[in-house]
Symmetry: C2
Subunit: 165 residues, 2 copies
DNA sequence: CTTAATAGTTGCATTTCAAGACTAATGATT
DNA sequence: AATCATTAGTCTTGAAATGCAACTATTAAG
């Protein structure tokens, strides 16, 4: 990745870590249970030098944790931290979007299913603290405590209900 | 973006379109109401040549739609399609993760709020077709109808409950 | 003490990015 | 009509990231 975004925005800041072709694929593998260098290598198709760099960035960012793990050779286990596991919604949202809009019904390569209901998972929704689904037309965006002047002016010109319709 | 991922996986395929530093920032701006070249340019900080390329990729991918729009000069409006609007969960999930784990409570630059309850939005959840929240430990992944042999072997070695814990 | 397995490094050719100058198209101004 | 202002986009160039393959290092097994 070249230079970093520096404007105050959660998405921009997240993309400083996740915004490339490989990082979320590595994180997908971590969710699926990969722990070793070689597993990430063969399951994603990334090259060795990039994998080395990305893994160390993810460890640095506290998304993966590296622990020694001796069987043969010099080997380590990379596992998701709490911060990394919190990316589950991002992974599920991307999976759902890709399945629905890039493959389509009946052509999905990998599916997530709810064992309790038996349903394939097709909806990811924002919910209130007591579990009520929040309707898109009720969602507003506003400057938060960490916003600066530029944020304020950008947000003030923005649609107040960005996800409605 | 360099070469494309070619293995059957919704995330890999999604990253072929969204997997760079800028694309999701452009999509964020589209949700916030930006429609014009100049708005995307100044609100994201991307360079002109890249913005040109990314916008045309997004139009090509049917995520944005370009329509003529004459006031002064040569101008067009870029607006989200249905496929683009379906990325709302990805945008919300990234926003929520970034706010929680990169900024932290009380330091969020931009917040999403539910007008109905007044709450700041902090939970994004998979739900069943009738709106019940699906518990992480009940989520299993499985090969779908579009999977090939490689998918099958990758998935069969994967943790069956990737989001549990 | 050699071999095999795993993880990682190095060097190099290619591709992409970043930045700014330049061009094109169109409505407004005189 | 001619010029100007505005918006969108192209072109050029140096810098940075990527992809590939060969090489090195570390440790366990035999």
């Amino acid at each position: 990745m070249s230079r970093k975004h520096d404007h105050p925005c959660a998405i921009a800041e997240a993309l400083n870590i996740l915004g490339d072709r490989w990082t979320l694929l590595i994180i997908r593998e971590a969710f699926y249970g990969a722990t070793r260098f070689g597993e990430f290598l063969t399951n994603t198709g990334i090259s060795r030098n990039l994998l080395t760099e990305r893994l160390s960035q993810l460890v640095e960012a506290d998304i993966l944790e590296r622990t020694p793990f001796a069987d043969r050779g010099t080997s380590h286990a990379y596992a998701l931290t709490a911060k990394g596991r919190a990316l589950d919604t991002v992974v599920m949202a991307l999976t759902e979007w890709g399945n629905s809009y890039l493959y389509g019904d009946g052509k999905e390569p990998v599916l997530a299913r709810d064992e309790a209901s038996g349903e394939i998972i097709r909806r990811i929704e924002p919910v209130t603290s007591d579990g009520q689904i929040i309707a898109r037309q009720n969602i507003v965006i506003e400057a938060g405590p960490g916003g600066d002047g530029r944020t304020l002016s950008r947000i003030s010109k923005a649609k107040s209900h960005p996800f409605a319709e």
